[in-house]
């Protein structure tokens, strides 16, 4: 039988994408599907597949009366809804300031980008030192006249803010780079027109720069939300979810249930809840963007 020309082209095409596609199937699609199955079971993976028993939706019901889960959910929202707006606001202001008024832009941008490309474990260890009683942060607060500065990572109320500050610092480089490239691509006519009309710098920033950057802001809001909901490294190194449950976030709790409690099924179920939350937030943002994002 003669193979048709079309089929031959198809085979060639598929064989080119096969390595990538196979990798995707084995390392992404299969785990994703498998985790759905697992999320409906009770499974201690150290006991092998034999110990897997279906409990249907029980995991998804149980978690809402699990105090650890609820507190980790609250903490994750606290973290994300602080980190994301703060990162975006500071990054926007910084990029504009650096772009307009700063001499030697490249080294400064590089300096801001360094934490983003550095290993989060190394950064976390450095920040543990920064927050220690003899570290610079505590000394700085003392020099402002505070006699008894908070214990930062050892304090129920201050541990989370301390991690948030560190995370903003670590993640801001990415947002600055994205903003900077957008700012450089902005057309100059609007600014010239505004100058002729006698607009101040602040007016130009609020009335021109911010609206024209709104597609970039939208992109950053979505991506930083997704990454901040998955915060793990800092927590693992700096506080291990403590003191008490004050920095216990979702992904850290997933890790705890899977690798300390050996409850794979429950951990998979929480992972899927995390996915659903992110999915919902993203949908809401897509709907909301019509109100504030302009592509003109």
């Amino acid at each position: 039988m003669k193979i048709s020309r079309q089929l031959r082209t198809d085979i060639a095409g598929y064989s080119f994408i096969a390595p990538n596609l196979l990798g995707f199937l084995v390392f992404t699609l299969f785990p994703v599907v498998f985790s759905i199955v697992v999320s409906f079971t009770d499974w201690d993976y150290t006991q092998g597949f034999g110990s897997m028993t279906f409990n249907w939706g029980h995991n998804f019901v149980e978690m809402w009366s699990d105090k650890w889960f609820v507190s980790s959910l609250v903490n994750t929202f606290y973290y994300s809804f602080t980190v994301v707006p703060a990162t975006i606001f500071i990054a926007l202001v910084l990029s504009v300031v650096v772009d307009k008024y700063v001499f030697g832009k490249t080294p400064i941008r590089l300096a801001m980008f360094m934490p983003y490309i550095s290993n989060i474990v190394a950064l976390s260890i450095v920040w543990v030192m920064m927050y220690s009683p003899f570290g610079p942060v505590t000394q700085l607060v003392k020099s402002f006249g505070v006699d008894d500065p908070p214990k930062w990572l050892g304090d129920y109320n201050w541990a989370m803010p301390a991690i948030i500050v560190m995370s903003i610092w670590a993640g801001i480089g990415y947002a600055v780079i994205i903003y900077t490239s957008s700012i450089q691509a902005l057309p100059t006519e609007h600014y010239e027109a505004a100058e002729i009309d006698g607009a101040t710098e602040v007016q130009k920033f609020i009335k021109i720069t911010v609206p024209m950057l709104s597609p970039t802001t939208f992109f950053l809001v979505i991506t930083t939300f997704i990454t901040s909901f998955q915060v793990f490294g800092q927590i693992m190194i700096m506080t291990r979810g403590g003191p008490g449950t004050s920095t216990n976030v979702l992904v850290y709790y997933i890790y705890t249930t899977a690798f300390s409690f050996y409850r794979m099924g429950y951990a998979a179920a929480i992972s899927w809840i995390l996915f659903l939350i992110l999915f919902a937030i993203t949908i809401v943002q897509w709907q909301g963007q019509k109100k504030w994002v302009s592509y003109t």
């Binding site: 214990k151 930062w152 050892g154 003191p243 705890t256 300390s260």
Partner: protein, 467 residues
């Protein structure tokens, strides 16, 4: 053109094959034993030519362990090779790093073939996995044949607690016995004799007397190392009264957190941290990442919680110090007879079931456990075998540090075998219970909750988990 396409297809096919082979391997091996080692056999036909070495033919064994060769194993191997040269058995030692990756490397090798004859496992849960995965030989019949009863010879009940389903898969060769580590010079200066038995109240009082100075120069009486493990007061103090299952009531259906022994132990620690300030507070320990080496060996605390830093104590290059270190048993919540002793076995020696020289490997295991491991005592590993000559262990243990280690208390506390060890048997929901207890302990240590309230709440929360 066509050739290129075919080559592309072939490449893709190979990748698929590799992927599947990679995924399949582990399972294949664990089910079918040593089927898949033709490659190893082919590459070394000389060594693997016959299944059983004929008498008189040289047998070369291979052992994997986690201790660096220079810390003892090389000396052990050299001694063995000298002593057993006439029987034609020799052994070679290779170190694996005892972390997740190192253990995985070991297991991959065990599953893949017969290259390793003897190896060391360090924890019971890993041993269980290896026993059920056909990676460890059932040694029960060998022990019976040589009349080597584990319970009689290796720490009583504790030794048989390492059995799995009534079978012995490993010989526990090392015993850990702990006690309070003491800066003898500070005790002498304060005119306090080294205690041989003491209660928590006496301990608290002594720590208070040894606390001096202020600020950066402060010397604490005690360091609890709570940032590393908050549960020392349970396992070291309360377990002496309550036994190994210190977290549970005897039936295992309820936690024991409001037991007077536990209230006393936790209460003493919290009071020393927060009232007496004779020990660094939990917050200081956490936020400054304090260590036993940093506190005790640099003279900032007169006592510390655990002698597992023995290698650092003997290492005067990295931790320069001149004072004499002595040891005392852990203080007890109350004074009474029949208390438990804290202790644990380790360095679980197993034989690879796929080894081609099982009899020779057993010869080595027996020799190692009963006499051969002495050089490891220099690195702080105390042989568990009861008939071992105690004086030679002490000599090896303090060697190189004779002037900074107090031999008498070293022998008494760390080396001389005790009776009535606290052996943990119940582990129902233990990780969850420890998380609950950890959170409440933190609140107690930080001073957010009183000892009684924190423990009562821990009990209530943990009992809910056990239902």
């Amino acid at each position: 053109m066509r050739i290129r396409k075919i080559a592309g297809l072939a490449l893709a096919a190979i990748m698929i094959a590799v992927l599947f082979a990679g995924c399949g391997n582990g399972k294949d091996n664990s089910q079918s034993g040593g089927v898949s080692s033709p490659a190893a056999g082919e590459s070394s036909p000389g060594a693997a030519g016959t299944d059983k070495p004929a008498a008189g033919k040289a047998v070369k064994l291979k052992m994997w362990g986690g201790v660096p060769p220079e810390a003892g194993p090389q000396a052990v191997v050299d001694n063995f090779n000298k002593q057993f040269a006439d029987q034609g058995i020799s052994i070679e030692y290779e170190r694996f790093v005892n972390d997740d990756q190192g253990n995985m490397k070991l297991e991959t090798n065990l599953l893949a073939g017969s290259d390793i004859d003897i190896y060391v496992t360090y924890t019971l849960d890993v041993l269980k996995k290896r026993a059920s995965g056909n990676m460890a030989l059932d040694l029960t019949s060998y022990l019976e044949k040589d009349k080597l009863d584990l319970a009689d010879n290796f720490g009583g009940d504790m030794a048989t607690s390492y059995d799995i389903d009534g079978k012995t898969y490993a010989v526990p060769t090392k015993i850990d016995q702990y006690g309070i580590v003491i800066n003898k010079d500070m005790f002498d200066a304060a005119g306090i004799p080294i205690p041989t038995a003491w209660t928590l109240d006496e301990f608290r009082d002594i720590a208070k007397r040894l606390t001096t100075g202020e600020g950066q120069d402060k010397v604490y009486g005690m360091f609890f190392n709570s940032q590393q493990d908050m549960f020392y007061p349970f396992n070291m103090f309360a377990a002496q009264v309550l036994g190994g299952d210190v977290f549970y009531k005897p039936d295992g259906k309820e936690t024991n957190f409001t037991d007077p022994a536990i209230v006393k132990s936790i209460g003493t620690v919290a009071a020393m941290m927060n009232e007496d300030k004779s020990a660094p507070s939990h917050v200081d320990s956490v936020t400054q990442k304090l260590t036993q080496e940093g506190m005790f060996l640099s003279g900032k605390s007169a006592m510390t919680i655990g002698p597992w830093i023995i290698r650092s104590i003997k290492d005067t290059t990295n931790y320069p110090h001149t004072f004499v270190t002595a040891f005392a048993p852990y203080p007890t919540p109350e004074r009474k007879d029949g208390l438990f002793t804290q202790g644990g076995l380790g360095d679980l020696l197993s034989i690879n079931p796929k080894s081609k020289n099982i009899d020779a490997a057993w010869t080595f295991v027996k020799w190692y456990a009963t006499e051969g491991m002495l050089p490891l005592a220099e690195g702080g590993r105390v042989p568990a075998y009861k008939q071992f000559d105690k004086e030679s262990i002490v000599k090896a243990f303090v060697s190189g540090a004779e002037d900074i280690l107090d031999a008498a208390t070293t022998k008494e506390v760390l080396i001389a075998p005790k009776s009535n060890y606290a052996v943990p048997k119940i582990s129902n929901k233990l990780p969850e219970i420890k998380k609950v207890m950890g959170e409440e302990l933190e609140a107690i240590y930080i001073g957010k909750k009183s000892v009684e309230d924190g423990l009562a709440e821990a009990k209530q929360r943990a009992d809910a988990l056990l239902k």
